[in-house]
């Protein structure tokens, strides 16, 4: 009887863990692929986010650069505690990503620098080129480090 009462409530509470997530669609940005260089630039993009009963337009950003012909888009979310990192924000390290919260640093390819707080490399976005413009997909673990 206790199980009969508890089971629905527990299943109710853990539902978010068990919910299936569909693969994300690519979001078209207004960044022309031809304009990308080897220097990371911040690309902002907006998409419709469904948060249970609340749907809203959300803006997010990525740090994008070209590595040869390959386009690399890194997530700006610090792997320490989730603050937002910036390229070359620390004058002493002009070729690294820098997190202002606890001075975490990353190489250009997202590799975290030993001795700073982050424990892993920056996540990477899946990218596509559409009609000359950059399209950004789902976040995945860093594949280039």
């Amino acid at each position: 009887m206790a199980a009969g009462m508890l089971m629905p409530m527990v299943r109710f509470a853990v539902d978010p863990i068990l919910q299936e997530h569909g693969a994300g669609d690519y979001i078209l940005t207004d960044q022309a692929v031809a304009d990308l260089t080897e220097e990371p630039v911040r690309v902002d993009f907006a998409y419709e986010q469904v948060d249970a009963w609340y749907t809203s337009e959300v803006t997010s950003s990525a740090w994008v650069y070209k590595e040869g012909d390959k386009i690399v888009a890194l997530s700006p979310v610090c792997k320490h505690l989730g603050c937002t990192v910036n390229w070359a924000a620390d004058p002493e390290h002009p070729t690294q990503f820098f997190c202002p919260c606890h001075a975490g640093r990353y190489e250009k390819n997202g590799q975290n620098i030993a001795g700073t707080p982050p424990l892993g490399p920056l996540d990477e976005y899946q990218v596509e080129e559409r009609d000359g413009y950059l399209a950004i997909g789902a976040v995945q673990a860093n594949t280039i480090v």
Binding site: A13, V14, P16, I17, H21, Q49, D51, A52, W53, Y54, H80, L81, G82, C83, L119
Partner: protein, 224 residues
Amino acid sequence: MLNKLYDWVDERLDITPIWRDIADHEVPEHVNPAHHFSAFVYCFGGLTFFITVIQILSGMFLTMYYVPDIENAWESVYYLQNEVAFGEIVRGMHHWGASLVVVMIFLHTLRVFFTGSYKKPRELNWIVGVMLFGVILGLSFTGYLLPWDMKALFATKVGIEIAASVPVIGESIKILLAGDSTILGAQTLTRFFAIHVFFLPAALLGLLAAHFIMIRRQGISGPL
């Protein structure tokens, strides 16, 4: 008049032994600040309880205006603080009391530690006390999000990342707290509200009952 009423009830229900057992007992000299002023350190536990009662009462009244919904949470807090009579006072009680209860429970823990009161036979009460400390910190964490301002949002983002760093089950804890694997939003706020006003207070009251029953069973620890 009141005496007569009391006698009338007491004659039928014999309530005197009940309240005598709860309230009528000697306070030993070594814990009474009236005898030795330095004994004020023995008051921290009682002060923690006193502030906890204020938190429960002020929190109950805050929910008369507060709405745990991302569109209206901040507006409702703004309204109850600035438009409602004594809103600033009632919210202030809850806001400052929240910090004070953590300070007090910490001082109480230090007192118990430095007087060695956790030793046999009171080990179980120390364990319950540590659990109470955890519940109080949980209440602080979940309550912090409810005003739904920028500070609350980003503090909770960081807090949830800390929870996610637990080995193996971290990701599940994160989703269980946030209500979504990536978004900190509508479901996070309702969950934190439910945890803050129902789940943790229920745990708090249960643990407090155990804490106090054990004190009455074992008595106050002896002088140093």
